[in-house]
């Protein structure tokens, strides 16, 4: 870049940094209206926009808001435990995104429309009430599915970090296509090596995945392993050692199990073979029964 352009860049960067954030767009608009030369006005507009959109000249560190999303058949008791852990060591805001009790039948039949609508409204309201906070989402089980659907359907809603555990999202889901999905180093998937529920969700229905047992096959997501079952993540030790560093500061602390985990059990491999595996087996059994006895 020419030294003259670089000088203009730095001059405008300095100009913006001396203006309160809520008045910056107004200031830019006034500057543009006062510029009579069309080419120069367009260049100025592009440069100011570039600086604003990249949060340059905005050195203030954003406050953090942690939003928690629970799974099925629960009233999210772990939300209170996590909130207590976070508030005892930081000034971050902690909000519980609840959608009420959701039973297994509706879960397997994919009757989640009203729950997704409710969760969408809750997230939008959080954004309205905390517009300058970085948004960090921690979701468990079916909450991971709702969170993924929400991010997919609301690409104007930026998320800064995501922590999944017990996830029932497709292991091959292409997060890269979502412009609002956080980038490398900002998404962790905590996997329970003894967690059978994601595999059961995948094999008893169509549309869910076993990422909570098998991990994601996507490089944007960091898979981290723990020797625990589906709800075994909710311990004070795990919160303090692994979750809080990531939720509050974006630090990923590796677990010992990640590099030292046992081989997957054979029956888990079979069950995770394809979506709806158990459904298909049941259907075949019903057809055989019908043919033999009716």
């Amino acid at each position: 870049m020419h030294s003259n352009s670089s000088t203009i860049y730095k001059k405008l960067e300095s100009e913006l940094s001396n203006i309160p954030s809520e008045k910056r767009w107004e200031h830019i608009k006034t500057r543009l209206l006062n510029e009579s030369d069309r080419q120069r006005r367009e260049d100025l507009e592009s440069l100011f926009t570039f600086l604003m959109a990249n949060n340059i000249a905005l050195p203030k560190k954003k406050e953090t808001l942690v939003a928690m999303v629970h799974g099925i058949r629960t009233h999210a008791e772990w939300h209170d435990q996590l909130e207590k852990a976070i508030k005892s060591s930081s000034t971050a805001e902690v909000k519980s995104v609840k959608y009420g009790f959701f039973d297994s039948i509706r879960f397997l039949m994919h009757f989640y429309g009203p729950k997704l609508k409710h969760v969408t409204e809750e997230f939008r309201l959080l954004k309205r009430d905390y517009p300058d906070h970085e948004i960090v989402i921690v979701a468990h089980s079916f909450g991971t599915f709702l969170t993924t659907k929400f991010i997919e359907n609301n690409t104007d809603f930026n998320v800064d970090r995501v922590l999944f555990c017990g996830a029932v999202v497709n292991e091959n889901y292409n997060f890269a296509k979502l412009p609002n999905f956080p980038g490398q180093g900002c998404v962790i998937n905590d996997v329970g090596t003894q967690d059978i529920y994601p595999v059961l969700a995948k094999s008893c229905s169509l549309g869910y995945g076993a990422s909570g047992t098998l991990g994601f096959n996507r490089q944007q997501i960091k898979n981290r392993y723990f020797e625990c079952k589906h709800s075994g993540f909710f311990t004070e030790e795990l919160f303090d050692s692994y979750w809080l560093p990531f939720l509050l500061r974006g630090d990923c602390v590796d677990s010992e199990t990640t590099t030292n985990r046992p081989m997957m059990k054979y029956h888990i491999s079979i069950l995770s073979l394809m979506p709806g595996f158990i459904l298909i087996v049941l259907l075949v059994l019903i057809l055989i029964f019908y043919y033999l006895f009716i």
Binding site: D43, L47, T49
Partner: protein, 113 residues
């Protein structure tokens, strides 16, 4: 155009095709676009983006967003944004402030193809 700008056009083409067809919109927030182009915010990066804009490969869009429920209207220039706008999502009139304005880039289809 410089070699680096040709390289960026190739990356834009890949990004455009990655987005696929259907419901995913080809509207990109600026930081996301820079990440996809392997660029960091700097005077040199601005130079590249501005060249791509001038050549018509990228188009800047200013989107006015409702406080709670997403985009209301798009404008090609900041000076075109009115002080007040009808928010069809809430049925109310919105006084446009800084926090309602978001900037996106659109990859121009014909040029990338």
């Amino acid at each position: 155009m410089r070699k680096v700008e040709y390289k960026m056009i190739d990356k834009l083409r890949v990004l455009y095709e990655e987005s696929g067809s259907g419901t995913v919109a080809r509207v990109y927030p600026v930081p996301f676009l820079l990440t996809k182009l392997d660029l960091v915010p700097s005077p040199a990066t601005f130079d590249i983006i501005r060249t791509l804009e001038k050549r018509g490969f990228l188009k800047k869009v200013f989107r006015v967003e409702s406080p709670a429920l997403g985009g209301i209207a798009d404008f090609s220039s900041l000076v075109d944004i009115p002080d007040e706008i009808d928010d069809f999502r809430t049925g109310l009139s919105l006084e446009v402030k800084s926090e309602n304005i978001k900037v996106y880039y659109v990859i121009q289809q014909a040029l990338v193809k």
